[in-house]
Amino acid sequence: MDFELDQDQQMLAKTVADFAKNESPVERFRQLRDDDIGYDPAVWQKMGELGWLGVAFPEPVGGFGGSFVECAIVLENLATNLVPEPYLASVVLGGMALLRAGTAEQHAAYLTPMIEGDTTLALAYAEARSRFDVSAIETTATTKGGGYEISGQKVWVLNGHNADHLIVSARAPAGVTLFVVPRDAEGVSVTVAKTIDGHKAAFIELDEVAVERGARLGEEGAGARVLDRVMDYAAAAAVAESVGLASKMLHMTVDYLGTREQFGVKIGSFQALQHRAVDMYAETELLRSISMASMVRADEDDTSTRRADISAAKYQLATGGIWVAQQSLQLHGGIGVTDEHDIGLYFKRMYALNALFGDAEHHVARFSE
């Protein structure tokens, strides 16, 4: 057993952390909250050049042949400064779905350009009534000519407002199937929705969108299994990101406690607040530790081994991670509930991650199956 990063991984972590610190202060995220896209395509391009978008993909598709651990490293370190580029949406959700469902040709057409930073992806899997069940969808793909016609409505498509290609799940004659649909295809209408964490997502209506046979990823009916697997990657990714958030929130809170004075002393000298900070530390370390397990297990093919740690990790985000966020806000007092202070931005991001890829009850139920 070994919980340490190897040398390459340590280097990656340092490079990403340095980038976040030097080139993406939280101020950059703040400014981009009001931007139509919400992030900077030039920075995305640069991430591609630095190889970060391909860390977990095999070499034939333009990746570096690493494991999901590298993805998690990137996410955790980007999170410490709330870097807004759509790594989770495009690399983890879109990329992993493409990688697992697509052919070599499809990889070359859609995955490699994303890895190089030229394009972004989005995975349109959620629907108004699906609530974490990727198979409970009403979007249909009916065969038409040599291809399909897709109709339905997708909700909360992360990066769906700007992605070049959407991976869309739809119910084909043989079951849930994934398709690549260009965002600008005829019949696709995109409504941009702001999210609580200062990002954007899309509500997407597909109205008899015609796609060719080659847009289908894998066999008909193979989509649910792939999505199920991608949801595990996504949950592990959210957890990795939450470790970055929680660590930073803990750090900011401890700093604040050591600086802010009330009643003539540093408030960090008050025992009740000290104990609260210690409990925040404990929850953060529990989150970090189970995140390590979940990022390693994400690549595991055995479903029950993989799910146990990933569900436990997502549950720890929902409990310990959320608690850390709440307490960090509380311990910052009045300043914490202003938009001016950064702590609230981390707080809201934690809640957004909690709401995605299965909430506490979803993972509890799955874990106890």
Partner: protein
């Protein structure tokens, strides 16, 4: 012990209920049934409607514009207002500075200020907190320098809720810089239109337009605007704190969020059935409802004491502690039930109005455990004052 209402009281309840239905404008009724969220203008409109009916200040003595109701009727009135989802009136005039003026103001002050509070001609806000003095209120640094018949006020107040809509602010200011912390503070009323006052709305976690910073740059305030005596402001502040206790019990907000939770849970499905019927989620809702019931009984005990003309018992000290935590837990559950929809943030047309109302309100209520004496400060006070634990 008796927890039931008399027949007369129940008749009164029906009268109030009918009147609300009748008096509330159609667009507000629609908002009540939809997002449950009102604008400050709605609140002002409703204030004027109640004023015309004579029901705007049930808790004031009859001679200054109150209704003369006993506590049971006031309680029923509040319950009906909450159940109907009526907008909450601004508390700063009606429930904070108004009662203080009634208790400690001069006749001239009563005549000058009370009628306009009642009629909504003048709205009020509160100037207590400062950037450097949060929990440690007595460390405030806004000064009021004696300049003969007036003071010259300089400094900054923060968390001045709804100052952008207010006409007046009541402030704690330092009038004697040499006195020990709590001494040397005066309770002062300041007209926000006085030159030198600047109000800057503050962007908060929920992006709700509630809080402001208010700056005072050589603001001239006549001495007749002092409530109580000069340098006796701390006594005024403590008297006001007593009023705040029941205000901060969050009974109305809890009821409101519970209603919303149930409305949302009825429309979402898990395992193929509405969440409101799913054992896990029903249990989660029930737990909060059950705790709310216990909390409600604590606040009823305080009300029953008031009804008898007694000071509420020591148990009323926990109302803010328990109520603010509970309303936060309720908004958290609302977020959880919404699932991915809890991501929504000031959108139109992608979620239902009631769903849209949750996120900002959830964010807004994070402040509930901080303002009005943070819950940590509340615990310090209860430990010393009620449990009489030793000082460190």
């Amino acid at each position: 012990m008796n927890l039931t209402f008399t027949e007369e009281e129940e008749a009164f309840r029906l009268e109030v209920r009918a009147w609300i239905q009748d008096a509330m404008p159609a667009d507000m009724r629609e908002r009540a049934a939809g997002s449950g969220r009102f604008t400050p203008e709605d609140s002002a409109t409703w204030h004027r409607i109640l004023y015309e009916k004579g029901w705007v200040a049930p808790h004031w003595p009859k001679e200054v514009g109150g209704t003369g109701w006993d506590a049971a009727r006031r309680f029923i009135f509040n319950e009906e207002m909450e159940s109907a989802g009526a907008p909450q009136l601004s508390v700063f005039g009606l429930s904070m500075v108004g009662p203080l003026i009634i208790s400690f103001g001069t006749d001239a002050q009563k005549k000058r200020f009370l009628p306009k509070i009642l009629s909504a001609e003048e709205f009020w806000c509160q100037g207590y907190s400062e950037p450097g003095s949060g929990s440690d209120l007595a460390s405030l640094r806004t000064t009021a320098e004696d300049a003969g018949d007036h003071f010259i006020v300089n400094g900054q107040k923060t968390w001045t809720t709804y100052a952008q809509y207010a006409d007046w602010i009541f402030c704690l200011v330092r009038t004697d810089p040499n006195a020990k912390k709590q001494a040397g503070i005066t309770f002062l009323l300041i007209d926000l239109k006085t030159p030198g006052v600047e109000v800057k709305p503050m962007l908060t976690l929920g992006h709700t337009p509630a809080f402001c910073d208010t700056f005072f740059d050589n603001v001239k305030v006549p001495k007749e605007n002092v409530i109580g005596e000069v340098n006796q402001g701390w006594t005024m502040a403590k008297a006001l704190l007593g009023h705040e206790r029941t205000l901060l019990a969050m009974v109305g907000p809890c009821r409101n969020v519970l209603q919303k939770i149930k409305r949302i849970a009825a429309t979402k499905t898990v395992d193929g059935r509405p969440m409101l019927e799913h054992p896990i989620w029903r249990a989660k809702i029930a737990r909060l409802e059950m705790r709310f019931r216990a909390h409600l009984m604590v606040s009823y005990r305080a009300l029953a004491d008031q009804q008898k003309g007694k000071m509420p018992g020591p148990e009323s000290s926990i109302l803010k502690l328990v109520g603010t935590k509970l309303v936060q837990e309720m908004t958290e559950l609302a977020m959880e039930i919404m699932g991915e929809s809890s991501l929504t943030w000031y959108n139109e047309g992608v979620c239902t109005p009631v769903e849209e109302s949750i996120g900002p309100y959830f964010c807004y209520e994070r402040a509930a455990t901080i303002y009005g004496g943070s819950n940590e400060i509340q615990r310090n006070v209860i430990a010393k004052m009620i449990l009489q634990l030793p000082s460190s």
